[in-house]
Subunit: 451 residues, 2 copies
């Protein structure tokens, strides 16, 4: 991994690294589809007006302009119809839902795996081009809370299937937090959330300072808000801990009940993977209920690898509201970590199982016949392009990790050689199959090093 990207923030993988990424993508797709999520893709571009619709935005957006266009392309900054690259998959999905609402069956569940772009300063875990894998369920008018529970379980199942270290979904609920703040007399709940969001970065002392200086909180209010944020349980005991703080508020009760449902289901169906963490705030984003962040255990400084939550209005069309709940996995962040720490490796660098060697230059067509028979049975096969010495042809296979080389002599007798063991045996191209572990590339997790 001495390679560095030729353009900072735009990672590219070697073929054997791409196989690890493909394995991650295939695994996510399989789990999502097993749970009935349908695939969609949206265009890479949105209008600037659409992207900046929510006003206060902390993402760096790349605007587009045609190089051959003679007009002043500064207009992209002022013109809401100008095009720009999407910075997440939620804003485009909201637009897609509104545009296609007449063609979709609600509640609509979709997964979307695409690249997104942000012009931020690149650093470990933060690229300018990266792949996200999102699942969301969106309703028309209403969306049962049960989907919040389900989404968390699907993500826990998906992450469990990946070649990554142990992880924790840290879940909170905005109603719980906002109801609590109101219950103690702090009405600028967005302001409190923004301060609480800084807890891991600046510590409780400075957060208390912020709450008091910026939001006019009393010592007691700041202390209560920090006590709430300090609650973290692996089961539903957080409910009693919150109640012990003696705050009463209707929204708080609603939030407690919702979070309790999520955690109770997770304790049963994803034991050890989910915690109620009442410090989770999700800063600027416009969530209205469940909020989720996810850490890799032992890699906490990498940041959240999967985040999201519930929006009462993911999208709207006139009076019609489309509530949604969803989570987004940072695929590139995960894959970068897997590769940089050698957490998993591909068993070879190419899909090929068999290289058909050439005995002489005229045997290419016969070799293609052998290859076609093998491919018919799903065995990935290449044919050598030149009748070089067998040693050279074997080396060609060896350099790529191709496990088998096929030889056919002038009398049409076939032999297949496992170049790892050196074993060579007669074989029939119409019947021979490799061991199942050689048939496709395996992604093997590498045992974690003792820290």
């Amino acid at each position: 991994m001495a390679r560095t990207a030729s353009l900072s923030g735009f990672p590219e993988w070697l073929p054997e690294e791409r196989l690890v990424e493909l394995h991650v993508l295939d695994t996510l797709r399989r789990v999502f589809e097993l749970h009935g999520f349908a695939s969609i893709e949206t265009r890479a571009v949105e209008t600037v007006g659409q992207l900046l619709r929510k006003g206060e935005i902390d993402k760096e957006v790349y605007g587009l302009s045609r190089l051959q266009d003679d007009e002043d392309d500064k207009s992209a900054k002022q013109d809401p119809h100008a095009l720009a690259l999407h910075f997440d998959l939620t804003v485009p999905f909201a637009r897609y839902v509104v545009e296609n609402s007449g063609y979709l069956a609600f509640p609509f569940r979709r997964y979307q795996i695409q690249k997104v772009w942000r012009g931020e300063r690149p650093q470990e875990g933060r690229a300018r081009e990266f792949t996200q894998a999102d699942i969301d369920v969106v309703g028309d008018g209403e969306l049962p809370f049960r989907y919040d529970v389900e989404i968390a379980l699907v993500i826990a199942e998906a992450l469990s299937a990946l070649p990554i270290p142990d992880f924790r979904l840290r879940i909170n609920n905005r109603k719980l937090a906002e109801g609590f703040y109101r219950g103690i007399g702090l009405e600028d709940t967005a302001g409190v959330l923004r301060s609480i969001d800084k807890l891991e970065k600046i510590g409780p002392g400075k957060v208390a300072e912020l709450l008091k200086t910026e939001l006019g909180a009393t010592d007691q209010q700041a202390e209560a808000a920090l006590k709430l944020a300090g609650i973290r349980t692996e089961d539903t005991s957080f409910v009693a801990q919150v109640r012990a703080l003696g705050v009463s508020n209707e929204l708080l009760e609603e939030g407690l009940s919702e979070l309790e449902q999520v955690i109770a289901a997770a304790v049963q169906r994803a034991p050890g993977k989910v915690v109620a963490d009442l410090s989770i705030a999700r800063g600027l984003d416009y969530y209205t209920g469940t909020v989720v962040e996810t850490v890799l255990v032992g890699h906490e400084q990498l940041g959240s690898i999967c985040s999201g939550g519930r929006y009462d209005a993911l999208a709207s069309k006139g009076n019609r509201k489309f509530p949604g709940v969803g989570l987004s996995i940072g695929v590139t962040r995960l894959v970068s970590r897997i590769l940089s720490q050698d957490l998993a490796k591909a068993s070879r660098s190419v899909p090929t199982v068999v290289l058909v060697a050439l005995t002489n230059d005229d045997s290419w067509s016969a070799a293609q016949d052998v290859a076609a028979q093998l491919r018919d049975r799903g065995i990935a096969t290449e044919v050598a392009a030149k009748a070089e010495k067998f040693g050279k042809q074997i080396k060609f296979a060896d350099r790529r990790g191709i496990p088998f080389v096929w030889f056919t002599d002038d009398d049409g007798n076939h032999q297949v050689k496992d170049i790892r063991s050196g074993d060579q045996t007669p074989a029939d191209p119409a019947r021979w199959t490799p061991p199942s572990e050689d048939l496709s590339v395996q992604i093997k997790t590498v045992a974690a090093q003792p820290v």
Copy 2:
């Protein structure tokens, strides 16, 4: 298909349409991997300098600028280090090969399936954002000609596996054409190719005019060039037809021999799919041998759905040259046509095979247990979110094309209903499997309408 894209030139698919596209992408990947091609992706952006490196360029490029950047973003047009979206996958692949040449095993065979962007005026078959699927083999210093033959055969196999009408690879060879032009005394071979490239658009009379006025060709020279371009054979008889024109040139002989090898192999291995078509020129592009375009029979006006050829120097690094041969399938062009003409359809709009119904609101957890058992055996399953009347739950499934609804009564007896036939039978969640044609979404080709 009354829907139109909300942004002209940026097509988006509904979930059932996306399933057709996914089928196309999965099929291409499967065939490419069976032939040993390794997957890579390159970043979406290149530097402007890299994209415009070849000088004369006829693609409209989208430049990037950060909206939050205060600097004058006009610089993107003058600054070769500015970023722009790639307009094909060949230029990025060439850069990738040079950058990673120390890490790749040559000849290196890769497939690459990604979106590309061109700021052109959108029209049928021509989008501003579209997906290409490329295969290339690239060598270090040299690349046996056999890969030209192989690439054509792999593409013919891949296209044959798609739900599309019959197609023809139209293959020519630049050496053949250029050698012929030199043999008749026309030295500006690039100019002749550019004129011949217009044959289908403006006809032979006007091409002859161009050759005479712009390149100073005599009547005889123009006639000979047009005679060559008129040769089109499904077998290797083009060789005799070219020889009958009585032109002698060494490069011509080399090209004849190369094209003969491609066509001879195709006659045997992809009968009826390939023609030698000596009118194929590929205009501005810098091919040096084999050139290919592909038409869908009956949809010729759609343009080429797969093009490419051989470059003596796909890339270079100092004195080191990397020759390559490759073809690029226009996936979006194909999928747009499949969808607009109803050539193929998905059997349902979601991956889900089974909807587990809720008998009452407390049965959600038991229903999740049933779903988990089914998913363990690869059966995509959703659980209803609310215990609505069974009729409503069945309608939920019906609207999405989900074929089976699962019922569990209060005593724990399971029944599964095929909602198409109405048949309902007892079933064990640990053992029941759907008919194999229902297990995953099927893409069915629709019989072509009589024209």
